[in-house]
Chain length 421, copies 2
């Protein structure tokens, strides 16, 4: 009897989905990779697109191109509308498809803690479109400031508020400081972009909560040395057009308000019919499958599980990639007749956050680094991870060029006609 070819459907072409496809290959299976974008995004560098350090194609790669030599991987640009675990089906752009295995890797989206109305005033940073929207907003603000004669208005236009003091917020604050103090400074005649205010707001008592106290302190001091106003222990009470309201009643008027405070899983996790946490993450089994559905796996930012030390596996790309490899191994074993499923074991390779063009903080196990050395480590690791990205050389060149000349090539405004509003 001939064996039926099994259909493995992968939702999402982020680090998790892409890595799964790269590590799963079986003569009895084909992969359908579904994403609503045609590109895989190198998210760790997205903040550089938002702050005009890199251009969009430099950190993105067409998914089809990644798998053009894999006849068993079918790339499908489409929206996932529904998932029906009971019948092993999903609805994609109005059409129903069946699956034998489902790998849910849709990642996260920006969350506004129950205030979705803030999104229009304070864009988050998850996609290339987000990054280009932020870049447009930042660049337009300085153009408006150059044109206006109203002093208060100019001050408002030149104020940038970043909400959220995690790695993304810290990276954005550092990059905004550099953009205004180093890059734009030389381009304007009437205004001095170096007078721009960059304000970083964090609700908890310190920045970079997942790092140790000394690293948080180092990040704070480095940012303050770059002219960033750091306000920890400060929650945001309300956000409206160009205004951030704080609990003490004070208001910061800022043309650009960037949101780096919250991430939630894709709303599609609710379709899986299993328990999810407040952030929408699925409480997965130790093997990353979902309760009662051994053929459905959730990996990456949409999964919630504890590692063997009882720590939450963080929503970072190395975790998503390790999970992807684990699931690829489980399905391969199963197709080869071995139903044993070992639990996922997270290997924390360390984490780092970059603060500017020559500073970062990093920890690898108990080992910690700060400053220029940490930045060099950050640079090397990101370049190594960019392998496979055809843009590696272009990115390297761009960085080198920026570093040497302090000019930036991606300061191009498109997509909206002047004026911006």
């Amino acid at each position: 009897m001939e064996q039926r070819i099994l259909r493995v459907v992968v939702l999402g072409a982020g680090f998790g989905g892409l890595t799964f496809c790269q590590h799963f290959r079986h003569s009895n299976a084909v992969i359908y990779l579904v994403d609503r974008q045609n590109h895989h995004l190198f998210q760790p560098l997205l903040y550089q697109v938002a702050t005009a350090g890199l251009s969009a194609p430099e950190i993105a790669q067409p998914v089809r191109a990644v798998f053009h030599d894999r006849p068993d991987v079918h790339v499908h640009l489409a929206n996932v509308e529904d998932i029906r675990p009971a019948t092993k089906e999903l609805v994609v752009d109005g059409e129903t498809h069946s699956y034998d295995y489902l790998v849910f890797a849709l990642g996260g989206r920006t969350s506004y803690f129950g205030h979705p109305e803030w999104e229009q005033f304070a864009p988050g940073l998850k996609s290339l479109d987000d990054a280009q929207r932020i870049r447009r907003g930042l660049l337009f603000a300085f153009e408006h400031a150059e044109n206006t004669r109203d002093k208060d208005e100019r001050r408002r236009l030149m104020t940038i508020v970043i909400v959220g003091g995690g790695p993304t917020g810290v990276e954005l604050a550092g990059a905004c400081s550099e953009l205004t103090r180093q890059v734009l400074k030389r381009d304007f005649k009437r205004i001095d972009p170096a007078q721009a205010r960059v304000i970083l707001i964090e609700g908890s008592p310190r920045l970079l909560g997942q790092f140790t106290e000394p690293l948080s302190q180092n990040a704070r001091e480095t940012l303050e040395g770059m002219g960033v106003e750091v306000r920890t222990g400060t929650h945001v009470k309300n956000i409206t057009q160009g205004r951030v309201e704080l609990p003490d009643g004070s208001v910061i008027e800022a043309e650009n308000i960037l949101w780096a405070a919250g991430v939630a899983a894709s709303p599609l996790t609710a379709k899986l019919g299993v328990p999810i946490d407040r952030a929408g993450r699925v409480l997965v089994n130790p093997d990353l499958s979902i309760p009662g559905r051994p053929e459905v796996f959730v990996i990456g930012d949409a999964a919630f599980l504890l590692d063997k030390d009882g720590q939450i596996v963080p929503g970072v790309s190395p975790a998503a990639m390790q999970e992807a490899k684990h699931v690829a191994q489980i399905i391969t074993s199963e197709l080869d007749g071995n139903p044993e499923r070992p639990p996922f074991d997270y290997w924390d390779k360390g984490s780092m956050a970059t603060i500017g063009r020559s500073a970062a903080v990093a920890k690898v196990g108990a080992f910690e680094m700060t400053g220029f050395l940490a930045w060099i480590a950050w640079l090397l690791i990101h370049l190594i991870f960019l392998v496979g990205f055809r843009n590696k050389v272009a990115v390297l060149w761009q960085w080198f060029y920026s570093y040497v000349t302090y000019r930036r090539g991606a300061r191009i405004i498109t997509g909206l006609k002047w004026p911006a509003k």
Copy 2:
């Protein structure tokens, strides 16, 4: 008595406006350079952005960055709303400014020969936004074709019509052929992008009317060898959504219809109060000033004049740049007390059109070239002209990479969510 500092207002940061600012510098004058885009565009390569050969920032340069070391050049991102030659004033974003000299270099826009309603169905190619719109349309069409099961629909999605057989149309047709036959071919599983139809329609009897008959014939044969259907002597009767109607009553159904047939000057030429031709171009004096207003000059695509052989000075970038230098000289002389104004003398350096990744046609005086040699010449000349563009190395790398691998890095769809319609 102290001399008043004169205000030279330059409208447009294209090749004409930019070149003027680079060549005009006088201790008694300041320049205000007004454009509604924040970047100068290397238009000759715009078709490569539209066909995913280059990414947008590679052919654009922030205008402020060009003049950051020129304290006498003020860059103003703004819309020009009105020009009042009688009072030497102009209205920019609601504010009235006066000028002592005005250099009108606003260039051209796509013209639909009295059918502005065609624009929504058949985008032209003048700005980065245009190019990105076309690229999105082309890439989305193949994604839709991959997803559909309807054979006729698939055929329609994979048909590209280009209206206009001048250099832009020929370049677009060649690049579309390569995109479908070489680049996308390897990325899709169900469809074969090499089966795409690329149809080039030209109203006159031959392509590239400004070249000689043998060069036109060579261009036609090269395109046909690349699988492009060339229809000369064919006018377009009507364009609606996805449909091109021809005079013989036949209809071509095509998801992508690109317009490369007509260019008209900026509508602001009408504000100058002097005679303009049907395409909106100003009939300038031999010194490039306008009748009765010696302080107003029109250069580039918005100017109409004959050279000393009675030929129309063509709307190409070398002409705009030569005109810019001429006007810079006239104003400099005048400020130095020499009111003599020599007539503009156009030096035709030759012209060329590229057809694909290894073919072009070129003429320099009576000397003509075709094929690979002409393409190498085209490549060298464009690289030389890109000098000053910081992206030179990146572009070179990108081209080299495309040439060697036939893959393209700019195939990133952003700005619109899937599905496109």
